[in-house]
Symmetry: C2
Subunit: 307 residues, 2 copies
Protein backbone atom coordinates (compact mmCIF):
# COMPACT_ATOMS: atom_id res chain seq x y z
CA UNK A 1 0.00 0.00 0.00
CA UNK A 2 1.35 3.37 -0.99
CA UNK A 3 2.44 5.56 1.92
CA UNK A 4 1.44 9.19 2.40
CA UNK A 5 -1.25 9.21 -0.26
CA UNK A 6 -3.47 12.24 0.27
CA UNK A 7 -6.62 10.12 0.12
CA UNK A 8 -5.08 6.74 0.92
CA UNK A 9 -7.49 3.97 1.92
CA UNK A 10 -11.25 3.84 1.47
CA UNK A 11 -13.17 6.67 -0.16
CA UNK A 12 -16.89 6.60 -0.88
CA UNK A 13 -18.12 8.03 -4.16
CA UNK A 14 -20.79 9.59 -2.01
CA UNK A 15 -24.43 9.65 -3.09
CA UNK A 16 -26.22 13.00 -3.29
CA UNK A 17 -29.54 12.92 -1.41
CA UNK A 18 -32.26 15.08 -2.93
CA UNK A 19 -35.41 16.78 -1.80
CA UNK A 20 -38.68 15.97 -3.53
CA UNK A 21 -38.07 18.82 -6.01
CA UNK A 22 -34.72 17.13 -6.85
CA UNK A 23 -32.65 19.93 -5.37
CA UNK A 24 -29.69 18.71 -3.29
CA UNK A 25 -30.61 17.89 0.31
CA UNK A 26 -27.48 19.22 1.96
CA UNK A 27 -28.33 18.44 5.61
CA UNK A 28 -29.00 14.82 4.61
CA UNK A 29 -25.78 14.72 2.58
CA UNK A 30 -23.83 16.03 5.58
CA UNK A 31 -25.38 13.37 7.82
CA UNK A 32 -24.41 10.68 5.31
CA UNK A 33 -20.87 12.07 4.98
CA UNK A 34 -20.37 12.05 8.75
CA UNK A 35 -21.78 8.53 9.00
CA UNK A 36 -19.32 7.34 6.35
CA UNK A 37 -16.34 9.06 7.98
CA UNK A 38 -17.34 7.46 11.29
CA UNK A 39 -17.63 4.04 9.65
CA UNK A 40 -14.46 3.35 7.76
CA UNK A 41 -14.14 6.04 5.12
CA UNK A 42 -10.79 7.81 4.96
CA UNK A 43 -12.18 10.34 2.51
CA UNK A 44 -15.12 11.15 0.28
CA UNK A 45 -15.31 11.40 -3.47
CA UNK A 46 -17.97 14.09 -3.47
CA UNK A 47 -19.84 14.77 -6.73
CA UNK A 48 -18.59 11.83 -8.72
CA UNK A 49 -20.52 9.61 -11.10
CA UNK A 50 -22.39 8.01 -8.19
CA UNK A 51 -23.05 11.48 -6.77
CA UNK A 52 -24.84 12.44 -10.02
CA UNK A 53 -22.42 15.37 -10.42
CA UNK A 54 -23.14 16.00 -14.07
CA UNK A 55 -26.86 16.06 -13.35
CA UNK A 56 -26.35 19.25 -11.31
CA UNK A 57 -25.67 22.79 -12.51
CA UNK A 58 -22.38 24.43 -11.74
CA UNK A 59 -24.10 26.63 -9.16
CA UNK A 60 -25.68 23.57 -7.51
CA UNK A 61 -22.32 21.79 -7.45
CA UNK A 62 -20.69 24.82 -5.88
CA UNK A 63 -23.44 25.01 -3.26
CA UNK A 64 -22.94 21.32 -2.44
CA UNK A 65 -19.17 21.67 -1.88
CA UNK A 66 -19.52 24.87 0.13
CA UNK A 67 -22.53 23.59 2.06
CA UNK A 68 -20.87 20.37 3.15
CA UNK A 69 -17.74 22.16 4.33
CA UNK A 70 -19.75 24.89 6.07
CA UNK A 71 -21.61 22.17 7.99
CA UNK A 72 -18.36 20.84 9.41
CA UNK A 73 -17.27 18.01 7.12
CA UNK A 74 -13.47 18.41 6.97
CA UNK A 75 -12.50 19.82 3.57
CA UNK A 76 -9.23 17.87 3.73
CA UNK A 77 -11.28 14.65 3.47
CA UNK A 78 -13.07 15.73 0.30
CA UNK A 79 -12.03 15.06 -3.28
CA UNK A 80 -14.82 16.74 -5.25
CA UNK A 81 -15.43 15.99 -8.90
CA UNK A 82 -14.80 19.18 -10.85
CA UNK A 83 -14.49 17.85 -14.39
CA UNK A 84 -16.61 19.42 -17.11
CA UNK A 85 -16.88 19.66 -20.87
CA UNK A 86 -16.05 23.36 -20.69
CA UNK A 87 -12.61 24.49 -19.52
CA UNK A 88 -14.24 27.53 -17.93
CA UNK A 89 -16.50 25.31 -15.80
CA UNK A 90 -13.69 22.98 -14.73
CA UNK A 91 -11.55 25.93 -13.69
CA UNK A 92 -14.38 27.71 -11.91
CA UNK A 93 -15.43 24.69 -9.88
CA UNK A 94 -11.87 23.66 -9.03
CA UNK A 95 -11.22 27.17 -7.70
CA UNK A 96 -14.34 26.93 -5.54
CA UNK A 97 -13.15 23.56 -4.18
CA UNK A 98 -9.70 25.01 -3.47
CA UNK A 99 -11.19 28.02 -1.70
CA UNK A 100 -13.27 25.64 0.42
CA UNK A 101 -10.02 23.95 1.50
CA UNK A 102 -10.03 20.78 -0.60
CA UNK A 103 -6.57 19.35 -1.26
CA UNK A 104 -7.48 17.49 -4.40
CA UNK A 105 -10.16 17.25 -7.07
CA UNK A 106 -11.20 14.42 -9.38
CA UNK A 107 -11.35 15.55 -12.98
CA UNK A 108 -13.16 13.90 -15.87
CA UNK A 109 -11.90 14.62 -19.36
CA UNK A 110 -14.21 16.78 -21.50
CA UNK A 111 -16.72 14.08 -22.38
CA UNK A 112 -19.01 15.36 -25.10
CA UNK A 113 -16.77 14.96 -28.14
CA UNK A 114 -15.67 11.39 -28.81
CA UNK A 115 -12.57 10.14 -30.54
CA UNK A 116 -10.58 13.26 -29.65
CA UNK A 117 -6.79 13.18 -29.78
CA UNK A 118 -4.36 12.96 -26.87
CA UNK A 119 -3.05 16.31 -28.12
CA UNK A 120 -6.51 17.79 -27.61
CA UNK A 121 -6.89 16.29 -24.14
CA UNK A 122 -3.41 17.45 -23.19
CA UNK A 123 -4.32 20.95 -24.37
CA UNK A 124 -7.52 20.84 -22.29
CA UNK A 125 -5.71 19.93 -19.06
CA UNK A 126 -2.85 22.33 -19.81
CA UNK A 127 -5.31 25.15 -20.18
CA UNK A 128 -7.01 24.17 -16.90
CA UNK A 129 -3.72 23.91 -14.96
CA UNK A 130 -2.45 27.20 -16.36
CA UNK A 131 -5.67 29.05 -15.63
CA UNK A 132 -5.68 27.69 -12.07
CA UNK A 133 -2.16 29.05 -11.69
CA UNK A 134 -1.33 27.09 -8.52
CA UNK A 135 -0.25 23.60 -7.57
CA UNK A 136 -1.86 23.79 -4.16
CA UNK A 137 -4.91 21.82 -5.23
CA UNK A 138 -3.97 18.50 -6.80
CA UNK A 139 -5.71 17.06 -9.82
CA UNK A 140 -6.68 13.38 -9.95
CA UNK A 141 -7.57 12.10 -13.42
CA UNK A 142 -10.85 10.24 -13.71
CA UNK A 143 -10.56 7.30 -16.09
CA UNK A 144 -14.02 5.85 -16.70
CA UNK A 145 -14.30 4.89 -20.36
CA UNK A 146 -17.65 3.10 -19.88
CA UNK A 147 -19.34 6.41 -18.95
CA UNK A 148 -17.14 9.21 -20.28
CA UNK A 149 -16.29 7.33 -23.49
CA UNK A 150 -13.07 9.38 -23.43
CA UNK A 151 -10.20 7.31 -21.96
CA UNK A 152 -6.89 8.50 -20.53
CA UNK A 153 -4.10 6.64 -22.28
CA UNK A 154 -0.90 5.85 -20.40
CA UNK A 155 0.97 8.05 -22.86
CA UNK A 156 -1.30 11.00 -22.03
CA UNK A 157 -0.87 10.52 -18.29
CA UNK A 158 2.90 10.37 -18.75
CA UNK A 159 2.86 13.59 -20.75
CA UNK A 160 0.70 15.39 -18.18
CA UNK A 161 2.91 14.18 -15.32
CA UNK A 162 6.00 15.42 -17.11
CA UNK A 163 4.49 18.83 -17.80
CA UNK A 164 2.76 19.35 -14.44
CA UNK A 165 4.50 17.07 -11.92
CA UNK A 166 3.34 19.03 -8.86
CA UNK A 167 -0.32 19.23 -9.93
CA UNK A 168 -1.23 15.88 -11.53
CA UNK A 169 -1.32 13.67 -8.45
CA UNK A 170 -3.13 10.48 -9.29
CA UNK A 171 -5.93 8.67 -11.04
CA UNK A 172 -9.21 6.99 -10.27
CA UNK A 173 -9.54 4.00 -12.57
CA UNK A 174 -13.16 2.91 -12.96
CA UNK A 175 -12.49 0.82 -16.04
CA UNK A 176 -12.64 -2.38 -13.95
CA UNK A 177 -9.57 -3.47 -15.93
CA UNK A 178 -7.00 -4.73 -13.46
CA UNK A 179 -4.26 -4.76 -16.11
CA UNK A 180 -4.74 -1.03 -16.63
CA UNK A 181 -4.56 -0.22 -12.90
CA UNK A 182 -1.47 -2.36 -12.54
CA UNK A 183 0.18 -0.72 -15.54
CA UNK A 184 -0.42 2.76 -14.07
CA UNK A 185 1.00 1.73 -10.70
CA UNK A 186 4.05 0.17 -12.35
CA UNK A 187 4.65 3.18 -14.54
CA UNK A 188 3.98 6.09 -12.20
CA UNK A 189 3.54 5.14 -8.52
CA UNK A 190 7.25 5.47 -7.75
CA UNK A 191 6.89 9.22 -8.37
CA UNK A 192 4.10 9.49 -5.81
CA UNK A 193 1.29 9.08 -8.31
CA UNK A 194 -1.73 7.74 -6.42
CA UNK A 195 -3.78 5.04 -8.14
CA UNK A 196 -7.30 4.42 -6.80
CA UNK A 197 -9.54 1.60 -7.93
CA UNK A 198 -13.05 2.59 -8.85
CA UNK A 199 -14.26 -0.96 -8.28
CA UNK A 200 -14.48 -2.78 -4.94
CA UNK A 201 -13.25 -6.09 -6.31
CA UNK A 202 -9.70 -4.76 -6.69
CA UNK A 203 -9.18 -3.11 -3.29
CA UNK A 204 -6.91 -5.80 -1.86
CA UNK A 205 -5.04 -6.23 -5.15
CA UNK A 206 -4.39 -2.52 -5.42
CA UNK A 207 -3.08 -2.26 -1.87
CA UNK A 208 -0.77 -5.25 -2.42
CA UNK A 209 0.55 -3.71 -5.63
CA UNK A 210 1.45 -0.29 -4.21
CA UNK A 211 -1.70 1.57 -5.14
CA UNK A 212 -3.29 4.18 -2.87
CA UNK A 213 -6.76 2.75 -2.22
CA UNK A 214 -10.24 2.97 -3.66
CA UNK A 215 -13.01 5.41 -4.46
CA UNK A 216 -16.13 3.34 -5.02
CA UNK A 217 -19.89 3.50 -5.21
CA UNK A 218 -20.48 0.55 -2.88
CA UNK A 219 -18.35 2.26 -0.21
CA UNK A 220 -21.57 4.16 0.53
CA UNK A 221 -22.64 1.00 2.33
CA UNK A 222 -19.59 -1.23 2.76
CA UNK A 223 -16.87 1.19 3.93
CA UNK A 224 -16.60 -0.47 7.33
CA UNK A 225 -15.55 -3.66 5.53
CA UNK A 226 -13.27 -1.71 3.17
CA UNK A 227 -11.53 -0.37 6.26
CA UNK A 228 -10.97 -3.96 7.45
CA UNK A 229 -9.23 -4.76 4.15
CA UNK A 230 -6.99 -1.72 4.64
CA UNK A 231 -6.20 -2.71 8.24
CA UNK A 232 -5.41 -6.34 7.43
CA UNK A 233 -4.09 -6.25 3.89
CA UNK A 234 -0.73 -7.79 4.83
CA UNK A 235 -2.44 -10.75 6.51
CA UNK A 236 -4.52 -13.70 5.24
CA UNK A 237 -7.53 -12.27 7.08
CA UNK A 238 -7.90 -9.63 4.37
CA UNK A 239 -9.16 -12.18 1.84
CA UNK A 240 -12.35 -12.77 3.78
CA UNK A 241 -13.13 -9.07 4.02
CA UNK A 242 -12.32 -8.60 0.35
CA UNK A 243 -14.86 -11.30 -0.50
CA UNK A 244 -17.58 -9.25 1.18
CA UNK A 245 -16.55 -6.15 -0.78
CA UNK A 246 -16.69 -8.05 -4.03
CA UNK A 247 -20.05 -9.56 -3.15
CA UNK A 248 -21.61 -6.19 -2.23
CA UNK A 249 -20.33 -4.70 -5.46
CA UNK A 250 -21.99 -7.53 -7.35
CA UNK A 251 -25.26 -7.25 -5.41
CA UNK A 252 -25.50 -3.47 -5.91
CA UNK A 253 -25.09 -3.72 -9.65
CA UNK A 254 -27.90 -6.15 -10.44
CA UNK A 255 -29.87 -2.99 -11.28
CA UNK A 256 -28.40 0.47 -12.06
CA UNK A 257 -26.02 1.11 -9.13
CA UNK A 258 -27.10 4.62 -8.10
CA UNK A 259 -30.70 3.43 -7.91
CA UNK A 260 -29.61 0.37 -5.92
CA UNK A 261 -27.53 2.28 -3.39
CA UNK A 262 -30.22 4.90 -2.83
CA UNK A 263 -32.81 2.15 -2.31
CA UNK A 264 -30.57 0.49 0.27
CA UNK A 265 -30.03 3.78 2.13
CA UNK A 266 -33.79 4.45 2.10
CA UNK A 267 -34.40 1.01 3.58
CA UNK A 268 -31.57 1.22 6.10
CA UNK A 269 -32.45 4.69 7.41
CA UNK A 270 -36.22 4.42 7.01
CA UNK A 271 -36.18 7.59 4.90
CA UNK A 272 -38.15 7.17 1.66
CA UNK A 273 -36.80 10.43 0.17
CA UNK A 274 -33.40 8.72 -0.09
CA UNK A 275 -34.72 7.21 -3.34
CA UNK A 276 -35.08 10.64 -4.98
CA UNK A 277 -32.72 10.95 -7.94
CA UNK A 278 -32.42 12.96 -11.09
CA UNK A 279 -33.44 11.59 -14.49
CA UNK A 280 -32.14 9.92 -16.60
CA UNK A 281 -31.84 7.70 -13.53
CA UNK A 282 -34.99 6.06 -12.26
CA UNK A 283 -36.12 4.61 -8.95
CA UNK A 284 -36.24 0.86 -8.47
CA UNK A 285 -39.68 -0.69 -8.36
CA UNK A 286 -40.84 -2.37 -5.15
CA UNK A 287 -40.13 -5.74 -6.72
CA UNK A 288 -36.62 -4.72 -7.78
CA UNK A 289 -35.95 -3.38 -4.30
CA UNK A 290 -36.96 -6.71 -2.77
CA UNK A 291 -34.63 -8.59 -5.12
CA UNK A 292 -31.82 -6.18 -4.32
CA UNK A 293 -32.26 -6.49 -0.56
CA UNK A 294 -32.36 -10.27 -0.87
CA UNK A 295 -29.12 -10.24 -2.89
CA UNK A 296 -27.51 -7.89 -0.37
CA UNK A 297 -28.58 -10.19 2.46
CA UNK A 298 -26.44 -12.96 0.99
CA UNK A 299 -23.22 -10.95 0.86
CA UNK A 300 -22.33 -11.19 4.54
CA UNK A 301 -22.39 -7.40 4.90
CA UNK A 302 -23.77 -5.80 8.05
CA UNK A 303 -24.41 -2.11 7.63
CA UNK A 304 -23.30 0.06 10.56
CA UNK A 305 -26.15 1.50 12.63
CA UNK A 306 -27.85 4.34 10.76
CA UNK A 307 -27.07 7.90 11.88
CA UNK B 1 -40.55 19.03 -48.77
CA UNK B 2 -42.58 19.61 -45.65
CA UNK B 3 -44.59 22.83 -45.71
CA UNK B 4 -44.66 25.38 -42.88
CA UNK B 5 -41.73 23.94 -40.98
CA UNK B 6 -40.47 26.54 -38.50
CA UNK B 7 -36.89 26.12 -39.70
CA UNK B 8 -37.60 24.61 -43.11
CA UNK B 9 -34.71 24.59 -45.60
CA UNK B 10 -31.02 25.14 -44.90
CA UNK B 11 -29.70 25.80 -41.42
CA UNK B 12 -26.03 26.16 -40.57
CA UNK B 13 -24.77 24.57 -37.38
CA UNK B 14 -22.93 27.83 -36.97
CA UNK B 15 -19.31 27.94 -35.79
CA UNK B 16 -18.46 29.99 -32.71
CA UNK B 17 -15.52 32.35 -33.38
CA UNK B 18 -13.28 32.94 -30.39
CA UNK B 19 -10.86 35.57 -29.20
CA UNK B 20 -7.29 34.59 -28.42
CA UNK B 21 -8.26 33.93 -24.80
CA UNK B 22 -10.91 31.49 -26.16
CA UNK B 23 -13.83 33.62 -25.01
CA UNK B 24 -16.63 33.90 -27.59
CA UNK B 25 -16.05 36.62 -30.18
CA UNK B 26 -19.61 37.84 -30.47
CA UNK B 27 -19.11 40.59 -33.07
CA UNK B 28 -17.38 38.07 -35.34
CA UNK B 29 -20.15 35.54 -34.71
CA UNK B 30 -22.77 38.15 -35.62
CA UNK B 31 -20.89 38.97 -38.84
CA UNK B 32 -20.77 35.28 -39.74
CA UNK B 33 -24.47 34.82 -38.91
CA UNK B 34 -25.46 37.73 -41.12
CA UNK B 35 -23.24 36.45 -43.95
CA UNK B 36 -24.90 33.04 -43.73
CA UNK B 37 -28.43 34.48 -43.67
CA UNK B 38 -27.53 36.59 -46.71
CA UNK B 39 -26.11 33.54 -48.50
CA UNK B 40 -28.71 30.83 -48.45
CA UNK B 41 -29.34 30.01 -44.80
CA UNK B 42 -32.98 29.93 -43.75
CA UNK B 43 -31.98 29.63 -40.12
CA UNK B 44 -29.07 29.02 -37.78
CA UNK B 45 -28.44 26.15 -35.42
CA UNK B 46 -26.60 28.27 -32.86
CA UNK B 47 -24.54 26.45 -30.21
CA UNK B 48 -24.69 22.99 -31.64
CA UNK B 49 -21.94 20.39 -31.81
CA UNK B 50 -20.12 22.41 -34.49
CA UNK B 51 -20.59 25.56 -32.41
CA UNK B 52 -18.70 23.88 -29.54
CA UNK B 53 -21.71 24.47 -27.27
CA UNK B 54 -20.68 22.03 -24.58
CA UNK B 55 -17.25 23.61 -24.43
CA UNK B 56 -18.84 26.79 -23.07
CA UNK B 57 -20.25 27.49 -19.61
CA UNK B 58 -23.93 28.12 -19.17
CA UNK B 59 -23.21 31.82 -18.62
CA UNK B 60 -21.15 31.95 -21.82
CA UNK B 61 -23.90 30.20 -23.77
CA UNK B 62 -26.46 32.63 -22.42
CA UNK B 63 -24.25 35.58 -23.38
CA UNK B 64 -23.88 34.18 -26.91
CA UNK B 65 -27.64 33.83 -27.46
CA UNK B 66 -28.44 37.23 -25.97
CA UNK B 67 -25.49 38.92 -27.69
CA UNK B 68 -26.38 37.68 -31.14
CA UNK B 69 -30.01 38.76 -30.79
CA UNK B 70 -29.05 42.13 -29.30
CA UNK B 71 -26.82 42.73 -32.34
CA UNK B 72 -29.77 42.35 -34.66
CA UNK B 73 -29.76 38.73 -35.80
CA UNK B 74 -33.48 37.82 -35.92
CA UNK B 75 -34.30 35.55 -32.98
CA UNK B 76 -36.92 33.80 -35.11
CA UNK B 77 -34.10 32.46 -37.29
CA UNK B 78 -32.23 30.89 -34.35
CA UNK B 79 -32.56 27.36 -33.02
CA UNK B 80 -30.06 27.38 -30.15
CA UNK B 81 -28.76 24.20 -28.60
CA UNK B 82 -29.93 24.11 -24.99
CA UNK B 83 -29.39 20.46 -24.10
CA UNK B 84 -27.39 19.65 -20.99
CA UNK B 85 -26.66 16.78 -18.63
CA UNK B 86 -28.46 18.66 -15.84
CA UNK B 87 -32.20 19.29 -16.07
CA UNK B 88 -31.66 22.60 -14.29
CA UNK B 89 -29.21 23.77 -16.98
CA UNK B 90 -31.43 22.67 -19.87
CA UNK B 91 -34.40 24.50 -18.36
CA UNK B 92 -32.41 27.62 -17.53
CA UNK B 93 -30.90 27.96 -21.01
CA UNK B 94 -34.16 27.17 -22.81
CA UNK B 95 -35.87 29.91 -20.79
CA UNK B 96 -33.13 32.35 -21.80
CA UNK B 97 -33.57 31.39 -25.46
CA UNK B 98 -37.34 31.81 -25.17
CA UNK B 99 -36.95 35.22 -23.52
CA UNK B 100 -34.65 36.25 -26.38
CA UNK B 101 -37.45 35.39 -28.81
CA UNK B 102 -36.33 32.02 -30.19
CA UNK B 103 -39.18 29.83 -31.46
CA UNK B 104 -37.36 26.55 -31.04
CA UNK B 105 -34.38 24.96 -29.36
CA UNK B 106 -32.33 21.87 -30.18
CA UNK B 107 -31.98 19.58 -27.20
CA UNK B 108 -29.42 16.85 -26.66
CA UNK B 109 -30.33 14.07 -24.26
CA UNK B 110 -28.39 14.06 -20.96
CA UNK B 111 -25.17 12.60 -22.32
CA UNK B 112 -22.93 11.65 -19.41
CA UNK B 113 -24.53 8.39 -18.31
CA UNK B 114 -24.56 5.70 -20.98
CA UNK B 115 -26.96 2.83 -21.44
CA UNK B 116 -29.80 4.66 -19.70
CA UNK B 117 -33.38 3.53 -20.20
CA UNK B 118 -36.04 5.12 -22.39
CA UNK B 119 -38.01 5.53 -19.15
CA UNK B 120 -35.16 7.63 -17.76
CA UNK B 121 -34.88 9.75 -20.89
CA UNK B 122 -38.64 10.21 -20.98
CA UNK B 123 -38.52 11.33 -17.34
CA UNK B 124 -35.73 13.81 -18.16
CA UNK B 125 -37.66 15.47 -20.99
CA UNK B 126 -40.92 15.36 -19.02
CA UNK B 127 -39.25 17.19 -16.18
CA UNK B 128 -37.83 19.78 -18.60
CA UNK B 129 -41.17 20.35 -20.36
CA UNK B 130 -43.05 20.60 -17.08
CA UNK B 131 -40.56 23.01 -15.55
CA UNK B 132 -40.70 25.20 -18.67
CA UNK B 133 -44.48 25.30 -18.27
CA UNK B 134 -45.20 26.63 -21.77
CA UNK B 135 -45.44 25.29 -25.31
CA UNK B 136 -44.41 28.59 -26.86
CA UNK B 137 -40.83 27.46 -27.43
CA UNK B 138 -40.66 24.21 -29.36
CA UNK B 139 -38.20 21.45 -28.56
CA UNK B 140 -36.29 19.69 -31.34
CA UNK B 141 -34.63 16.44 -30.27
CA UNK B 142 -30.98 16.08 -31.16
CA UNK B 143 -30.15 12.54 -32.23
CA UNK B 144 -26.38 12.19 -32.58
CA UNK B 145 -25.35 8.79 -31.23
CA UNK B 146 -21.74 9.13 -32.50
CA UNK B 147 -21.14 12.06 -30.11
CA UNK B 148 -23.78 11.87 -27.39
CA UNK B 149 -23.65 8.05 -27.22
CA UNK B 150 -27.26 8.33 -26.03
CA UNK B 151 -29.66 7.69 -28.93
CA UNK B 152 -33.35 8.60 -29.24
CA UNK B 153 -35.29 5.48 -30.15
CA UNK B 154 -38.39 5.76 -32.30
CA UNK B 155 -40.40 4.41 -29.38
CA UNK B 156 -39.13 7.21 -27.14
CA UNK B 157 -39.94 9.90 -29.72
CA UNK B 158 -43.43 8.47 -30.09
CA UNK B 159 -43.96 8.52 -26.35
CA UNK B 160 -42.72 12.12 -26.05
CA UNK B 161 -44.92 13.22 -28.96
CA UNK B 162 -47.94 11.62 -27.37
CA UNK B 163 -47.30 13.24 -24.01
CA UNK B 164 -46.25 16.71 -25.26
CA UNK B 165 -47.67 17.10 -28.79
CA UNK B 166 -47.49 20.91 -28.77
CA UNK B 167 -43.89 21.10 -27.49
CA UNK B 168 -41.93 18.29 -29.18
CA UNK B 169 -41.70 19.67 -32.69
CA UNK B 170 -39.01 17.77 -34.56
CA UNK B 171 -35.62 16.14 -34.64
CA UNK B 172 -32.16 16.75 -35.99
CA UNK B 173 -30.75 13.40 -37.05
CA UNK B 174 -26.95 13.46 -37.22
CA UNK B 175 -26.61 9.69 -37.25
CA UNK B 176 -25.91 9.75 -41.00
CA UNK B 177 -28.28 6.76 -41.20
CA UNK B 178 -30.76 7.43 -43.97
CA UNK B 179 -33.00 4.56 -42.88
CA UNK B 180 -33.45 6.20 -39.48
CA UNK B 181 -34.37 9.61 -40.96
CA UNK B 182 -36.82 7.97 -43.35
CA UNK B 183 -38.38 5.96 -40.54
CA UNK B 184 -38.91 9.13 -38.47
CA UNK B 185 -40.49 10.96 -41.41
CA UNK B 186 -42.75 8.01 -42.18
CA UNK B 187 -43.80 7.64 -38.56
CA UNK B 188 -44.26 11.24 -37.44
CA UNK B 189 -44.09 13.86 -40.25
CA UNK B 190 -47.83 13.69 -40.93
CA UNK B 191 -48.40 15.23 -37.50
CA UNK B 192 -46.15 18.18 -38.34
CA UNK B 193 -43.01 16.67 -36.85
CA UNK B 194 -40.03 18.29 -38.60
CA UNK B 195 -37.12 16.02 -39.52
CA UNK B 196 -33.79 17.70 -40.29
CA UNK B 197 -30.77 15.90 -41.64
CA UNK B 198 -27.54 16.60 -39.81
CA UNK B 199 -25.54 15.51 -42.85
CA UNK B 200 -25.32 17.32 -46.21
CA UNK B 201 -25.44 14.15 -48.28
CA UNK B 202 -29.13 13.61 -47.46
CA UNK B 203 -30.52 17.11 -48.14
CA UNK B 204 -32.19 16.26 -51.45
CA UNK B 205 -33.41 12.88 -50.18
CA UNK B 206 -34.96 14.43 -47.12
CA UNK B 207 -36.76 17.12 -49.11
CA UNK B 208 -38.12 14.50 -51.53
CA UNK B 209 -39.34 12.34 -48.64
CA UNK B 210 -41.27 15.06 -46.81
CA UNK B 211 -38.62 16.10 -44.32
CA UNK B 212 -38.10 19.72 -43.28
CA UNK B 213 -34.53 20.41 -44.32
CA UNK B 214 -31.05 20.25 -42.86
CA UNK B 215 -28.93 21.60 -40.04
CA UNK B 216 -25.33 20.90 -40.97
CA UNK B 217 -21.75 21.80 -40.21
CA UNK B 218 -20.74 22.31 -43.84
CA UNK B 219 -23.60 24.83 -44.26
CA UNK B 220 -21.12 27.25 -42.68
CA UNK B 221 -19.52 27.35 -46.13
CA UNK B 222 -21.92 25.70 -48.61
CA UNK B 223 -25.30 27.22 -47.68
CA UNK B 224 -25.60 29.04 -51.01
CA UNK B 225 -25.51 25.63 -52.71
CA UNK B 226 -27.86 24.16 -50.11
CA UNK B 227 -30.32 26.90 -51.03
CA UNK B 228 -30.08 25.83 -54.68
CA UNK B 229 -31.07 22.29 -53.70
CA UNK B 230 -34.06 23.69 -51.81
CA UNK B 231 -35.06 25.89 -54.78
CA UNK B 232 -34.76 23.12 -57.38
CA UNK B 233 -35.57 19.96 -55.45
CA UNK B 234 -38.50 19.04 -57.71
CA UNK B 235 -36.32 19.29 -60.83
CA UNK B 236 -33.38 17.26 -62.22
CA UNK B 237 -31.13 20.30 -61.69
CA UNK B 238 -31.10 19.56 -57.95
CA UNK B 239 -28.88 16.51 -58.42
CA UNK B 240 -25.93 18.62 -59.55
CA UNK B 241 -26.20 20.94 -56.54
CA UNK B 242 -26.60 17.99 -54.21
CA UNK B 243 -23.34 16.56 -55.58
CA UNK B 244 -21.51 19.69 -54.48
CA UNK B 245 -23.05 19.49 -51.00
CA UNK B 246 -21.97 15.87 -50.68
CA UNK B 247 -18.47 16.68 -51.94
CA UNK B 248 -17.98 19.59 -49.51
CA UNK B 249 -19.16 17.43 -46.64
CA UNK B 250 -16.57 14.85 -47.64
CA UNK B 251 -13.79 17.42 -48.06
CA UNK B 252 -14.47 19.05 -44.68
CA UNK B 253 -14.29 15.79 -42.81
CA UNK B 254 -10.86 14.60 -43.95
CA UNK B 255 -9.68 16.08 -40.63
CA UNK B 256 -11.89 16.90 -37.59
CA UNK B 257 -14.74 18.98 -39.07
CA UNK B 258 -14.76 21.92 -36.65
CA UNK B 259 -11.04 22.41 -37.23
CA UNK B 260 -11.55 22.13 -41.00
CA UNK B 261 -14.39 24.64 -41.17
CA UNK B 262 -12.58 27.17 -38.99
CA UNK B 263 -9.45 26.83 -41.16
CA UNK B 264 -11.54 27.47 -44.28
CA UNK B 265 -13.16 30.55 -42.75
CA UNK B 266 -9.73 31.87 -41.67
CA UNK B 267 -8.46 31.42 -45.21
CA UNK B 268 -11.56 32.83 -46.86
CA UNK B 269 -11.82 35.94 -44.67
CA UNK B 270 -8.08 36.46 -44.14
CA UNK B 271 -8.66 36.40 -40.37
CA UNK B 272 -6.22 34.05 -38.59
CA UNK B 273 -8.16 34.22 -35.30
CA UNK B 274 -10.92 32.23 -37.01
CA UNK B 275 -8.82 29.14 -36.18
CA UNK B 276 -9.15 29.70 -32.42
CA UNK B 277 -11.07 26.84 -30.83
CA UNK B 278 -11.44 25.26 -27.45
CA UNK B 279 -9.63 22.05 -26.50
CA UNK B 280 -10.15 19.13 -26.83
CA UNK B 281 -10.28 20.38 -30.41
CA UNK B 282 -7.02 21.38 -32.02
CA UNK B 283 -6.02 23.60 -34.91
CA UNK B 284 -5.00 22.04 -38.21
CA UNK B 285 -1.32 22.21 -39.06
CA UNK B 286 -0.22 24.23 -42.09
CA UNK B 287 0.22 21.03 -44.02
CA UNK B 288 -3.26 19.76 -43.08
CA UNK B 289 -4.76 23.12 -44.06
CA UNK B 290 -3.14 22.88 -47.49
CA UNK B 291 -4.53 19.39 -48.02
CA UNK B 292 -7.95 20.56 -46.89
CA UNK B 293 -7.98 23.56 -49.23
CA UNK B 294 -6.84 21.35 -52.10
CA UNK B 295 -9.67 18.90 -51.36
CA UNK B 296 -12.17 21.74 -51.12
CA UNK B 297 -10.94 23.12 -54.46
CA UNK B 298 -12.05 19.92 -56.16
CA UNK B 299 -15.64 20.03 -54.89
CA UNK B 300 -16.92 22.65 -57.31
CA UNK B 301 -17.92 24.94 -54.42
CA UNK B 302 -17.44 28.70 -54.74
CA UNK B 303 -17.74 30.47 -51.42
CA UNK B 304 -19.78 33.68 -51.47
CA UNK B 305 -17.71 36.89 -51.09
CA UNK B 306 -16.57 37.28 -47.48
CA UNK B 307 -18.39 39.85 -45.34
Amino acid sequence: MMKNALFGGVNAAILTPQKDDLSPNIPMLVRHAQWLLANGCDGLGLLGTTGEANSFSLSERTAIIEGVVAAGVPAAKLMPGTGACAITDAVDLTRKAAEAGCRGVLMLPPFYYKGVSDDGLFAFFSEVVQRLGTDKTKIYLYHFPQQSAVPFSLALIERLLKAYPTVIKGVKDSSAQWANMKAMIDAFARDGFEVYSGSDEFVLDILKSGGAGCITAASNINSSVGAKVVQTWTTPEAEGWQKILTATRKATTIFPPISCLKAIMAHHTGTPSWTNLRPPHTRLSAEQTQKLLAALGETGLTLPKAA
